[in-house]
Structure formats: structure tokens, C-alpha cells
């Protein structure tokens, strides 16, 4: 029993296929989705989506977006995202330093805070990815 899944960024489709189990960073916290899940609608926090199919697990990093779960179809739409294998740790860390500077300069700005959150999540995802590649 599997569920169809599609993860789409505004500039490219990231992942399309079937999954036995998925995890997300939902608005109210992490959530796991199995096939035949009840309909669910939420936005996503910046972070990784895990898609498990059989023995294989794939990871996609999203800067945000929306998740719609239907019993037979899971749809994720996100303005920006990329496969976790495509994140460069050094570039992500560089980006994080820039975002931190901006957030300290302008602590009131919600945009700066959002960018910082995204940058932190990207570094975390890159570190996780590096660990996975070592194992």
C-alpha cells in the first residue's frame, strides 16, 4: 500500500512518485503521513521532507510551502526548495552568516527573521545530509 506523492517548487518539480511513509515539518510540529491518511491541510516550516519508499529514503529541503494530504495523494507546493543532496554545506553556512548579520542589524524586520530561519534550517539539512552520506 503506497500513496502517490508530488513535491513541486515554483521553478522545478522536485519529486514525483510513490511513498510508504512521509514526514514533514508542519505548522504545529513534525508530522508523519501514511497512505490512507485523513485529509489534512497545513503550511510547512522551512526544513526537510522525508519520503520513504521500500528501503529507500529521499530527502527534500523546502523553504516553506503548503501540504495537502488526501487519502491517495500527497501534494506539496513550495516557492523554493531543492533535493537535500544538492545543498552545499559551505554555501549554506555562508548564507547563514549573512542572514545573521542582517537579523542583528534589523531585529524588528519579519522578513529578516524569516530569512534567518530558512538559512538555519538549510544548514541543519546540509549537516544531516552530510551525516547520511557518511553512514
Amino acid at each position: 500500500m503506497a500513496v502517490r506523492v508530488r513535491i513541486l517548487a515554483s521553478d522545478q518539480p522536485l519529486l514525483e512518485g510513490e511513498a510508504d511513509f512521509l514526514t514533514f515539518r508542519g505548522a504545529d510540529g513534525d508530522l508523519g503521513v501514511l497512505p490512507q491518511h485523513a485529509p489534512l491541510l497545513t503550511w510547512l516550516k522551512p526544513g526537510e521532507v522525508m519520503v520513504r519508499q521500500g528501503e529507500g529514503e529521499r530527502y527534500v529541503f523546502l523553504e516553506g510551502g503548503f501540504l495537502e494530504v488526501l487519502p491517495n495523494l500527497v501534494t506539496v507546493v513550495a516557492e523554493r526548495g531543492l533535493l537535500s543532496t544538492a545543498i552545499g554545506l559551505e554555501a549554506a553556512e555562508e548564507d547563514l552568516r549573512g542572514s545573521q548579520e542582517r537579523a542583528t542589524r534589523d531585529p524588528e524586520s519579519p522578513a529578516a527573521a524569516h530569512l534567518l530561519e530558512v538559512a538555519q534550517a538549510r544548514v541543519a539539512a546540509a549537516q544531516l545530509q552530510r551525516r547520511r552520506e557518511r553512514d
Partner: protein, 290 residues
Amino acid sequence: MATLRDIRRHIRAIRNIEQITRAMQMVAAAKMRRAQARVAAGRPYAVAMEEVVADVAKIGKEYRHPFLIPREEGPGVLILVTSDRGLAGSLNVNTLRAAHSHMLRNFGPRYQVVALGRKGLEFSRRMQLQVLHHRVGISDQVGPEELRPSVEAAVSAFLEGGAREVVLAYPRFRNLLSQVPTVKVLVPVPPRGEAEGPHTEGDYIYEPDARAVLERLMPAYVEAEVLHAVRELQASFYSAQMVAMRNASSAAGDVIRELSLTANKVRQAGITRELMEIIGGAEALQAARR
């Protein structure tokens, strides 16, 4: 009658034009390939966003967002996606005609416009429409951020301005030779048939809650649609421009061929005349000697 010099000057001028149109054709072709790749890569996102919102319109009951409630009254808002420049055949004219006639039919001549692209802006001013917002010089690598102020203008015309509908018009890219003027209602979300969409009992589980999710999702849906429309325009524009420039180059070639023929005839006529004069002169001399 034109002298040989006039004709040669004309040929040179047309050859210069041909060089320019050929160069523009090459540039448009290169840009077209990239724009085509972008529109193809972005289409699944726009389609999925549309489907999610249509699902919400169908099965979401807990909170009915204003975008899901049809309105009887109020002006129409047109998001008009055109190119900044011309030299692209009838691309913009077709889009403007389709959009304008849709708006006239549904809202009369006093509708409001959010113009993305100079051609649409100029048209709106000429028709004395109320331009709520306009944006020219959109980059080829357009992203969601770049269009956000324009989308906000349209969304707030609906939420705060009491507009009845938000309509989107753009040329949809089908292939190199065919760009289809497309006019569609974005807001309120058009209902789908009973057969389409999910067949589930009951509503979604919303996290954190229905209202908060929909208040984020609905503007994101409009953003996705507008972003995609701009990408469709860009692919359409470079295709239409490439074809227009190819036609111009080949027309220039035809004219040059014809003019060269005339030039050669004029030149030959001149030579013949001179020969006749020489022969005539020689014969006259011989006749005089006898």
C-alpha cells in the same frame, strides 16, 4: 525611373535591416529556449496549486475564505500580462483583444487593471481604465518576490476594494508558432465539477487552524498563477519575436533579390545603349568614308 545608384543605395539599406532582424532572431531564439524550459519546469507547480485550491473550494467547510465566496456586485480587476516591447507580431494585440472583450462583456468599460508589461499599461491608459498598479521591466529569471507587490495590489482590490472578480489574461505558450490568448478568473476560485477532485467524507484537518491556513494559502495561489502567467508570456514573446524576425529577414531577402534583378537590368540596358551608340557611330563613319 530609378538610376542604378539609387537602386544600389536601396539594396544596401535593406541589407542593413536584414542584418539587424537576423541578429534579433538569433537573440530571441536563444532566450526562447531558456524561457521554454522555465515555463515547462514551472507548470506542474501552478497546476498543483490550482488543484489544491479547487479541492479546498470543494471539501473545505470549516472556514469559507472570501476567495471562495461568489460576489454579485463590484468592479472587475484585470491582471494584464503583456510584453514591454513589440516586434512580436500580433502577440500582444491578441491578448489585449481577448482580455478587453471579456472584461467589457462582464463588467462594462470601467474595469480596473493591474498591468504587468508596458504594452498592457499603454493600452489601459489609452482606454482610460483605472490602473491600480503597474510593473514594467520584469526580469527573465522572474521569481515570486518580484511580483509580490503586483499580486498584493490585485488581492487587496478584492479583499478591501470590494471587487467582484480578479481576472488574469496572458498569452499561453503552446509551441513556436502558436500562442493562445488566455483569460481566466482567479478569484473567486471557480467551482469544479462534482466528478473532479477528492471524494472524501468530511473536512480537512487544519494545522494550526482553518482560517490561518487559508489566509496564507489563498494569496500564495494567486502568486503562483501570476508567476506562471509571466513565464508563459516570456516563452510566448520570444517565440513570437523569433518568428516575426525570421519573416522580416526572409522578406528582406526577397526584396534584395528583386532589386538586384532590376539593378542588373538597368546596368545591362546602359551597356546595350552604349554599344548601340558605338556601333552606330562606327557605321556612320564607314558610310562617310565610302
